[in-house]
Amino acid sequence: MAFTLLYLFVILAAPVKKINQINSSFNDTITPDKLDKAYPDPDNPDLFNLYKEKIFLESRLEMAKTGMIGIVVNLDDSLLNIEIDGINLHKAYISRYKVSRLFSSIDNKAYLGLLSHPFTTNYNWDTFDKEPIVVKKAPKDTIEAAKQATVPDSVKTGPAYVTMNLDYNIQLCLYQEKGSVWAMLYRFFFMSGRRFRQAGESIRGAVTFKIPEYRPVIKIYVPKDDLVTIYRALATDAKVVVKL
């Protein structure tokens, strides 16, 4: 019972710690001066909405400078795009999404600071190959080569679920929107993997009296074909621009 209470405590304390961490990183360091200058009076609702628009454009411009394919998550317009050099390459419509409450709990200034630059992906979990490589041994002669010749198949995949770990340990989850019972079961196991990892950290935290790392989530549902196309287009360290 005592352990359960301790476990509950660390789980509840984790997001609070994260909120304070994000707030302080944009309030206590050198950046606030710049933030105050760039976004004065962020608590004014009219200004805040304009600033949101401004940082979205600034982030996309910054991403365009990298010359790499990046991803744009625009929850305001329910759109998921990939862009390179400011040119839209592929667009997918987000059917539904869920965002951790953390994003609406941080300070306005911290919110603007957090989203004013593109995030960088540092780790991915997926249920399909990013590069569907098929290994083929070189045939010894023309007879073996003829035997190896097959009618090519299109690169289709099974259930498509992806989690991208971004800066500040924000997790961008891209899930296929519809699917069979098998696909739903697959999603349950895929999500369970994340839950088990997080629970493991929390249990360790409860045992060692240390508040674990909280990972805020942006969960997006898009059509499967779009998801596969978008994910395969990205480099492993792709930039991500988010508008919440």
Binding site: L47, K54, V134, R195, R232
Partner: protein
């Protein structure tokens, strides 16, 4: 059927069964499952609903009285958004460019930000050809931004080593006549650099499938349109 089920339940309720090891195992198993559900699935859900309860004061939802300085700030911000939008839209090329989707094996030819032609193509097969321990070739189409480096009519394919290895043939000397094949690349080819080409194909039935060694294959009509619309230096975006 119902009779059988009630018999089972009766068996479970007997003292004899309650003292058996199977009963204890089932009970322990259920406890483990319940613990996992509580610890892994239920308790971690709580912060999803409680986070931020004590962090009020964020996102003001009531409009404040606008002071003169705020109005000025709003105007300044609106102007800077307009400038940024102009700058961002300026990035979108008004000239002609090609976009290739390697997952769906489709292409889109743009002019003035409008699609003027679209269709199917063939891109890299993702086959990793291994010859012994040392030599390996991967047949994938590179992704990113490219520029047309050269334009060729009636191209001749100079077969690289892997083309012979793949067919189980011995590799001929570099300038051997068996390396040159006429007519297999169609009427035109556009070079993207590093040996990658946009060209035609004899295998039209495979268009729309990932079958190439890294080049982009188009059908004859599409290739002609692309060839005549893109010039040297035109951008090609592959994703």
């Amino acid at each position: 059927m119902f009779h059988k089920i009630s018999e089972w339940f009766k068996r479970f309720r007997t003292e004899e069964f309650k003292n058996s090891s199977s009963y204890k195992n089932i009970k322990a198993g259920l406890w483990i499952i319940l613990t996992i559900i509580i610890y892994i699935y239920l308790i971690p859900l709580i912060p999803e609903y409680t986070t931020g309860i004590f962090h009020s004061g964020h996102r003001p939802d009531s409009l404040e009285q606008l002071g003169q300085s705020t109005e000025k700030l709003i105007r300044t911000t609106e102007n800077s958004i307009k400038r940024l939008e102009k700058k961002f839209n300026g990035l979108s090329s008004k000239s002609t460019y090609l976009v290739v989707n390697t997952t769906e094996n489709e292409f889109y030819l743009f002019r003035n930000q409008k699609v003027i032609r679209q269709g199917v193509c063939s891109t890299g097969s993702y086959i990793l050809l291994e010859s012994g321990e040392e030599e390996k070739w991967i047949f994938k189409t590179p992704k990113g931004q490219f520029r047309i480096q050269g334009k060729i009519t009636s191209p001749v394919w100079r077969k690289p080593d892997w083309a012979f290895v793949e067919e189980g043939l011995p590799i001929p000397p570099q300038e051997h006549e068996s390396r040159y094949e006429h007519g297999v690349l169609g009427d035109y080819a556009l070079s993207l650099g590093h040996g990658y080409l946009i060209h035609g194909t004899l295998y039209q039935r495979f268009l729309g499938l990932p079958v190439t060694h890294g080049c982009i294959r188009l059908n004859d009509d599409d290739l002609e349109t692309v060839y005549h619309n893109l010039s040297i230096g035109s951008k090609v975006f592959i994703y």
